[in-house]
């Protein structure tokens, strides 16, 4: 699939999570449960499932770094975590038939890994002092569910893109 469409799409997801989603999500209205939108990460995980681990690694690194610079307090945490998650997601064997359910399951797992990894780094470096229990129940758990659900339109778009552009190659998705 054409790179520029992918880049544009991932950028769109990236800006959606920072600027647009913030006014709409429950925590903006005072909810104790925090839904961290990570649409770009979902996009990268799904992309890695289609295009393999090296693309997952590269796109993960690029958008992780962008996140670090724009929103983060230190540079490197997201660049590392997103690249790792992209790589691992891309390493899942291709012969497993990936329907929407499996794809969303993998996205959920990837999101959980990503959130825990970033929380771990932030905690290690003293950037957040949030307790483990609170982080898991109020931040990570709702975010994983939310992102797995929100990944469905992303999945549909990715599949549409693949179906349109990769008719020559073997299709792994049905």
């Amino acid at each position: 699939m054409p790179r520029w469409i992918l880049g544009l799409f991932l950028s769109f997801l990236f800006f959606l999570e920072g600027a647009a989603a913030q006014g709409v999500l429950p925590q903006a209205w005072g909810s104790p449960l925090v839904f961290i939108p990570q649409f770009a990460v979902s996009g990268i995980i799904l992309l890695a499932l289609y295009n393999g681990r090296y693309e997952g690694l590269a796109w993960g690194f690029v958008f992780g770094l962008l996140y670090d610079i724009v929103y983060g307090q230190v540079i490197g945490v997201h660049a590392f975590s997103t690249a790792v998650v992209g790589y691992v997601a891309g390493s899942i064997p291709r012969h497993i038939k990936l329907g929407p359910l499996v794809a969303l399951l993998v996205t959920g797992l990837g999101q959980a890994g990503h959130l825990l990894l970033t929380y771990g780094w932030y905690r290690l470096f003293g950037i957040t002092h949030m307790a483990w229990n609170e982080a898991v129940f109020f931040h990570v758990a709702p975010s994983v569910l939310f992102n797995a659900a929100a990944a469905f339109p992303v999945y549909l778009f990715m599949r549409w893109l693949v179906d349109r552009t990769e008719t020559r190659r073997n299709r792994w998705f049905h």
Binding site: G18, A19, A20, V24
Partner: protein, 289 residues
Amino acid sequence: MLPRLFANRRLFILLLSVILLLVTMGMTRGDREQLSLPETGVKNAAAWVQGFFSRPVQAAAGWFDGSSNQLQAHNQQNVIQLKAQVAKLKQENKQLKKTLDYTKDQKVDTITARVVARSPDLWNNRVVINQGSKDGIRKDMPVVTYEGLIGRVKAVTGHMADVQLLTDTGSGPGIAAHVQTEDKEVFGLIEGYDTKTKRLLMKKIPSNAKLKKGQLVVTSGLSDIYTGDLLIGTVDKITSGEFGVDQMVYVKPAARFEQLQYVMVVRDPVKLKLKEHRKEIDSQGKGGE
């Protein structure tokens, strides 16, 4: 041993990247006086794009706030659209009017800015505003809404600034603050935020001070960066401190941290001079040694 390590290329690369991560984190964490050029460029560009995204959403949020009751009666698209606009303008007007009053009362110079983005994860609570050093904003300036103090400027680029909110759990330096009792001002430090009860923690208050619920907590003029008498909140609960020799107070913040749209950056000439003075003394100290 070593050739074998090199043979396992994947492990080697992973280790290398972890080391690289630690190095960049070590270099970029903490308070930095200035951001590097590429960072500034990326941040400015991102803020510009974010402006396009955040405007319609904030408009929608404002509309949702203002006029959801009268919605059922009219379902014509035009009417709804106009209503949305009116509601938004009303809300904007209200906020800006309040802003004006606040500015008059406080007699400090403020720069009004619009919030364009908020850090999506809440590990660190930051918002991005659309005014930067070109508009007179400097690092460490306090940021308020018409309700009260919300945080301080953490990083600044040409056309935008990052604001660290008081709710950030990775606490920066404490804020010197006063509790205003009837006859005197009781000094303490605001350090940290309790996310469960949504209260700020004010520590190191002398144990002989008699405090009551509802008393006002304001910033102390003795602080390095905060202008004096900015409203922080009210006393909510009084407990004894960590070591039993002092008191700790749960402070209910006066400002809301949700749905931030317009904020004001406080420019206090005295604190700016103080900062320059400090810098000069620092450089003199280094020159003398």
